[in-house]
């Protein structure tokens, strides 16, 4: 297999990597916000419940969570999970939503009381204050820590192969079984390029949001 064939094959695997990344973000970003509301709730039982869930999810290795989501339904309920890919998405979404929720919470709690009061004075309802006044300021403040997590997510996708979801690293390992070893290291270029693009994107977003400074 030549350089070009290998690149094409790895690109095929990278599609799965990208899908895991994109779907996890798609589900975990809003889910994280809901969880952060839960962890800030004034209703004590709910707050403790959510905080316990976050503790468990952040306290267990992601790899183990993938195993739990994939194998436990079959063990306990006799209903084996049919799609390995779905199991990965569910596990990743729950895990990342919990991390995101803490970043959101930090961002939301950092907004000064006066912002809410100003909204109220203008006669806005609570949701209006949150979505029109608070949220944008939160987004601006959490861009840097979020970019950290999102870049970590790119590389965590490699964990999908523990239940044999064929992402780029698995493809490279499979190629190695035919006697070609260099593609395994070549995959690093794909991750680097993708993270590079994301880094530029986050830089751009931070720049666009910096008008508050003016």
């Amino acid at each position: 297999m030549g350089f070009w064939d290998v690149t094409l094959k790895l690109l095929e695997g990278f599609q799965t990597t990208f899908l895991i990344f994109a779907l996890t973000l798609l589900f975990a970003l809003p889910l994280g916000l809901i969880i952060s509301f839960g962890s800030m709730s004034k209703f004590t039982p709910l707050r403790y419940l959510v905080k316990t869930v976050v503790w468990i999810v952040r306290g267990i290795p992601l790899m183990l969570q993938v195993f739990i989501i994939f194998y436990v339904p079959g063990f306990v309920f006799g209903a084996p999970v049919a799609s390995r890919f779905n199991a990965v998405i569910v596990a990743f979404t729950i895990n990342y939503a919990c991390y995101f929720s803490e970043i959101y919470r930090g961002g939301i709690e950092s907004i000064s009381r006066s912002q809410y009061e100003a909204g109220q004075v203008l006669g806005m309802t609570k949701p209006q204050v949150f979505f029109r006044v608070i949220l944008l300021q939160v987004i601006k403040r959490i861009t840097a820590p979020m970019s950290n997590e999102i870049i970590t997510l790119v590389k965590d996708t490699a964990l999908a192969r523990v239940i044999i979801v064929v992402e780029i690293l698995k493809v490279a390992e499979d190629i190695a079984t035919t006697g070609l070893i260099w593609p395994l290291f070549y995959t690093g270029a794909f991750y680097l390029l993708f993270v590079g693009i994301l880094t530029l994107l986050f830089g751009y977003i931070e720049k666009r949001l910096s008008y508050f400074k003016a």
Binding site: L31, L46, A79, P80, A82, A87, V90, I164, T177, L180
Partner: protein, 271 residues
């Protein structure tokens, strides 16, 4: 108001998760599905140039599926977790050049204690793969003592390798048999113990031209299909296998993959 809103949100979230779960576990191992847990293992199960599964065990499984009117599919697994996959029902059998008369190195028990085996259908042997330029160092079984060996975690080869290198030797775990070739080639281990059918195909091909099979004989073993303990499938598959053997279909298939000398149906229970 706000509490109610939060509660509704969280409930909605939980419900949607349950839905996500059930929707991905809809196909609850219907009886007519035969999901074979495999690893890429030339010539038993491997992918052809179109990316479709082929190989002796692959075609064998499809033939049995036809006889039993079952839908056969192949799911790549981590060999180390084969019993977990079987127990969880994410696969229905282990059909992958599965050595029956061996102690499993994951459970440290004879394999027949964890799965029900079909009739054994093929003879195999473990062999020692080394670098060609070190052939002189590996003449007999004693030369293996104290060496560093690589083997697939959970494979029959691992059990053999452990015994072969002895207490002074070192074992390196690999995730697949083929990864052990990389270890030998890179010099991180002295030798690898793998199935001979695989080694004959891999050694001296592709990047592995500098590897050879050492002239050291290890014990014989037999291949069989592993089912969940108490599965009704064992008997059904045995019957289908017997028919395919008696009408010569299996022999034709074995010839296609150059395995006719290894094909041997044995109805004696494996232990």
């Amino acid at each position: 108001m706000r509490k109610v809103a939060y509660l509704t949100l969280v409930c909605a979230l939980l419900v949607s998760m349950v839905f996500a779960f059930t929707s991905c576990s809809n196909a609850t191992s219907k009886a007519e599905k035969l999901i074979c847990g495999v690893t890429k293992y030339d010539p038993m199960n491997y992918l052809d140039e179109n990316g479709d599964w082929t190989g002796f065990d692959t075609e064998f499984a499809r033939l049995v599926g036809e006889k039993l009117d079952m839908e056969v599919s192949f799911q790549e697994i981590d060999w180390n977790k084969k019993f977990i996959e079987l127990e969880a029902g994410t696969i229905t059998c282990i059909w992958n050049g599965f050595t029956a008369n061996a102690v499993d190195s994951v459970t440290n028990r004879p394999r027949h204690e964890d799965v029900d085996f079909s009739y054994s259908y093929m003879l195999n042997q473990q062999c020692v793969v080394i670098k060609a330029d070190r052939a002189d160092e590996f003449k007999s079984a004693e030369d293996l003592l104290g060496k560093t060996a690589a083997a697939e975690k959970g494979s029959a080869g691992e059990s053999f390798a452990k015994e072969a290198v002895g207490d002074d030797g070192k074992m390196i775990d690999s995730t697949s048999q083929i990864n052990t070739f990389v270890e030998v080639k890179s010099g991180s281990v002295d030798l690898a113990v793998v199935d001979i059918l695989l080694a004959q195909r891999m050694a001296a091909s592709g990047d592995y031209t500098d590897l050879i099979i050492a002239d050291i004989t290890l014990d014989h073993e037999v291949y069989a299909i592993g089912f969940k303990k108490g599965s009704e499938l064992t008997k059904k598959v045995n019957e289908a296998m017997m028919e395919l053997y008696n009408d010569g279909t299996l022999e034709t298939l074995a010839k296609k993959y150059g395995l006719e000398n290894s094909l041997k149906l044995d109805t004696a229970p494996v232990n």
